[in-house]
Every structure is written in structure tokens, then in C-alpha cells.
Symmetry: C2
Subunit: 327 residues, 2 copies
């Protein structure tokens, strides 16, 4: 089969292509062709026997979606987006990349469907940012999307379009509302939510990390490995059970910052915990107060999506996948 990953140069996109290589296919089917697309040319994953096509493309530029769809991929993972902060700073860019890009993709698929009955599966990554405060805990599957960022708005619009285009029979697919990915590998970044990973990632390798919020802040997490697992499951599951509501809140671990730190202590000891430096930041605390504390994710669990069941497990996954299995 032919698998296309749009947004393949990002952290999740890279881990997804590596996983496809490791699995030797998608579900029971071998992957003959992998097309990796991003605004910067993605790197080919190591060790892949099939054909790799690397595409530098901006989905929101005229004709690009058609060009990509002309290759008729069987499965499309659409992970491309500009992040929340950038979508908030640059209003037009956010709508262009995060919303118009998706619509161009859907319309390119629709036109191909009209031309030759093309009927791919699209796995779209949405976000818990489609929810905006005040939020209950846990958030149920039928709670409304009232985003408080342009990014969340754009993702919520994409979810609506996805469900409608599927209902109309142009394609099949599913929308995956990713939890915050924790522990995000790599260097600290500028995202306001970066500390959720930083307070674990840095101490695990003996480095200091800054904690800008109080211990009682509760948030919703899943590992990069789980995120890739959601995407693979979305690409291989029986979609006939899903019905018309195609955007699903994924399972994850709801934890307070205090519970994160407790897990770190259990796994890496007090010396690791001592590397967390508390520097309260009023602005970050205000932002965090509006973030999703956790989800029931009942539908997703019933449909076979799985994540970690504790923060200890999230930390262990990081040690296995990023630190070679040892501290």
C-alpha cells in the first residue's frame, strides 16, 4: 500500500514513519510506498525496503493538495499544522495552514473521488485545544467544543469538515484529538506547555528544569509512543463501528504536576526531583488554568485506542524509547 504522511518532519511524523518501517507495514498490509511531505523536505527513515518519496510542499499553496492526491495514497496521515502560539500571533497564517490546508486536502480527495471513485482513509490529528474553559473534569465525549485559541478553532472546524466529507462518502477516516504529548523528546522549546515534559526530561538526564506553575495544576498526557499508536490504530481499525461522529478524544493520563513529580521520584529518586527549580510564572499559570484537566475518552477506549495508565509508565516509555532503556 501507499502511505502518505503530511507533516512528516515533525516529532510525531518522524516517529510514525519509523514505526511503519519497524512494523514492516500498516496493520496486516505491507507498505510499498511511503510519501513523506512537509514544508521542509523530510528525512527518509532508516531501513525501509520500499520506495520513499520525499516532498517539500505547503498544503495551503495553490494546487499542492491536488498534486499530492494525484499519487492516490491509500492512507493519508495529516499531521501538518502550525502550533497554537504561532496561530495566535499570525492570524492569517494559522487559518491558511491549519484550516484551508485541510479543506484543500479534503477537496482534492473529493475531486479524485468524483473522477475515479478514489476512496482513501484520512487520519487527521486534532487536539484537545478544541475545548476551552470552563471545563469539567473529566470531560465527557459529548462535551461541546468551544476553543479559546485560533488554533483550537481551526482544529474544531477541520473536525466538522472531516465528519461531513466522510458522511458524504468522499473518503473514510477519523479525527484523533491528541492529549499533550509527554515526555516530548529533544530540547526545551518555547511552548507554554513545555514544562510538563521539561520537569521530567531534564532531571532524568541530570539537568535542571524550571517549573512555572503550582503542583495542583492538572492536565492530560500521553507518550509519543501512544500518539503514534493512536494514529496506527486509526489507520487500521474497522471504521464501520464509529458512526458519523468522527472526532475522538483519545485516552491518556490525567495527572497533577505534583503527581508527575511523585512519579519522577519513584523512578529516578529524590536527586532527580531536586533538579526541578520552582519559578512561578503568573501568565503561564493563568493559561494552564484553562487547559483540559482530563477526559473520559470512553468512545475511544471502546474503539480500541489505548494509552499509558500511569505517569510512571509514561516516564518508563521515555526511558525505553529515548534513553536506551536506562537512567
Amino acid at each position: 500500500m501507499h502511505v502518505m504522511i503530511i507533516g512528516a518532519a515533525g516529532m510525531v511524523g518522524r516517529k510514525l514513519s519509523e514505526r511503519l518501517v519497524r512494523d514492516g507495514g500498516l496493520g496486516a498490509k505491507p507498505v510499498e510506498t511511503m510519501t513523506l511531505v512537509d514544508v521542509i523536505t523530510p528525512e527518509a527513515p532508516a531501513g525501509f525496503d520500499g520506495r520513499v518519496v520525499l516532498e517539500q510542499a505547503d498544503l495551503s499553496a495553490a494546487g499542492e493538495a491536488e498534486r499530492l492526491i494525484n499519487t492516490r495514497p491509500d492512507v493519508i496521515f495529516h499531521l501538518a499544522a502550525i502550533v497554537s502560539g504561532e496561530a495566535e500571533r499570525d492570524f492569517e497564517k494559522g487559518y491558511r495552514i491549519n484550516m484551508d490546508g485541510m479543506r484543500f486536502l479534503l477537496d482534492a480527495v473529493r475531486h479524485a473521488h468524483d473522477a475515479d471513485r478514489y476512496y482513501p482513509r484520512l487520519v487527521f490529528t486534532s487536539s484537545i485545544a478544541v475545548f476551552g474553559a470552563p471545563l469539567p473534569y473529566p470531560i465527557s465525549d459529548d462535551f461541546h467544543s468551544t476553543p479559546l485559541t485560533s488554533y483550537g478553532t481551526q482544529k474544531a472546524v477541520c473536525e466538522l469538515l472531516l465528519s461531513d466529507y466522510i458522511r458524504r462518502g468522499f473518503l473514510d477516516g477519523i479525527g484523533i484529538r491528541l492529549p499533550t504529548i509527554c515526555i516530548r523528546p529533544g530540547k526545551p522549546n518555547a511552548a507554554a506547555s513545555g514544562f510538563f515534559s521539561g520537569i521530567l526530561r531534564e532531571p532524568l538526564v541530570g539537568q535542571e528544569a524550571v517549573l512555572p506553575v503550582t503542583d495542583d495544576i492538572r492536565h492530560w498526557h500521553a507518550s509519543p509512543r501512544s500518539a503514534v499508536g493512536f494514529l496506527i490504530h486509526g489507520a487500521t481499525m474497522d471504521l464501520s463501528q464509529v458512526g458519523p461522529r468522527r472526532a475522538l478524544s483519545m485516552p491518556g493520563v490525567s495527572a497533577t504536576v505534583g503527581e508527575q513529580i511523585d512519579a519522577l521520584r519513584r523512578i529516578a529518586g529524590d536527586n532527580a526531583v531536586k533538579l526541578i527549580r520552582r519559578e512561578p510564572d503568573e501568565m503561564i499559570m493563568r493559561m494552564c488554568a484553562g487547559w483540559a484537566p482530563g477526559f473520559e475518552a470512553r468512545r475511544a477506549r471502546e474503539l480500541g485506542f489505548t494509552a499509558e495508565s500511569s505517569f510512571d509508565e509514561i516516564i518508563r516509555v521515555h526511558i525505553e524509547d529515548e534513553l536506551g532503556g536506562k537512567l
Copy 2:
């Protein structure tokens, strides 16, 4: 002030402009200019002392939104849409008129805001079609939008855009999810929901009407007078109380078809009821089963929106407004 009504030639648009004339203004403010816009040139309401501008314009055509916004209306009522059935038959037209039209309007306002701090109020008519089965009864204010029509999808997208553009400070405004309008004046139309009005409207003037569903079908109704009342209230209320969730399910009357008929009997007698001819239609029954049975509409009521409190009252409003006050 300058009031613009986009979609002014429709039933609600006409009643709204007539009401503005009758009230002599909007809230406490006199209306000096009324711009009436539709794809067919609207008629000027009788008896208006101010200036009326009649515009034949398609909001989804290039440059039209800018042209309309160049006149800097203080309040914009956006009622223009193609209806559910047409949006389902003509996929591209539905998205163009119902979704792109709104986005062009919002972007024209945004550009005007950037140019000269223009900051109008936009009252947008949404629909209970943003909800899709299975639905609880009553539907709470925080129930999710999972439309089962392209029309409902387009309205749900517009609601998201409206809230985000307001949050970003480009304009102020509110989204009004209208109940099914009952009793809709005029001739029977082809809408699948037309019978809700027909089984009352026709018997009230001694004519036969067809009832294609069983008596237990429950749905959500408000009179044309209430619909106009919602719009006026949305245009005049203190929006600072509303917060960022700008799409509101309006109050209304939840009634089964049997309860509608009971109200008809109380007001017009058995002879009127006898004019209802039962011709069950499986397709219409299946469609009805997915429609919204009723709403809590708590936020809207708290914010001062009001509707009828019984079906008897809905029928009486029709007799007053359409039949000169007598049977």
C-alpha cells in the same frame, strides 16, 4: 444608526425590517439607514422614514463582502443561507454560500477593523441543525455539535469562526441558533419539516394539510415573532455578559405533533383538526427521528431571550400576526 440585513428578502428578514420600522429604531437608537441585501433585490419595508438602500448581492462572490462593509454598518444581521435540502443536494454551493460567505464577511470586517478600528455588531443566525442524532432531551447548553447535514456543518463552522473573530477583537456579536420556525406563514413548501407548520396553518384557514409522521414525534419550535425578537435582542443586549461562547441555543416550545394538534383543537376546534390527513411517509419519519426534541436553553433565557411558553401561544401569535387577529 446604520443597520444592514443580509438575507433581507427571506421570511425572517422581511419580518425583521418591518419590525425595525414599527419600533422606530433598534433598542433606544433611531435607525437612519437600513441596507437590505439579498441575492434578489429585497423590497423596501413600508412606512420607513429613513434611508433605505436595496442591494442585490451574493456575499460569496469576490469583493461583495468588502463592498458591503465599505458602508460601515453599525449592526449587521446575517441571515443569508441556502437551506438544508439545497445544501445537501449541491455540496459546493452550500459550502460557498453558507460557509465561505460568512468567512468573507468576517474577513471584510477584520480588514476594516485593521484599517480604521471599525467595530460593528454581527448577529448571525445559526440553527439547531448543528446538532445531530442521537440527541438527549432536553439538550443542554454544553452538548456537542455533531451535525448530520452539510448545512448543519456549515452553520457549526460559522459559529466557531464567529466566536474566534470576536475573541480576537475584530467585531462584537452573537450567534443565534433558531428553533424550527412555526407557524411559518405563506404557502406549503418542499422542506421535510414543512408539515410542522402546515398541520396548523392550513386547518386554521379551513384547508386540508398532510401529516407524514406519527403523533409522538417531538420537536423544537418558536414563532416568527420570537425569531425576530431573538435577533433584536441579540443586536441590543449587553454582550459583555456573554463570555467567549457566542453561539446560543434559543428558547422555544418543545412539543410532540400530538401536542401541536391538541393546541389546534383547543383554539380552532375539532373541525380544524379533522382537516389533518394522515399519510405516513417513512423517509420523513426517519429524518424527524434525528431532529432536536428540545433544549434547556438556560444561557439564552438567563441572557434575556424569550419565546412562547406553549403551543397555544404559538398558534395565537400566528392568528394575530398573519390572520388579522381572528379565525
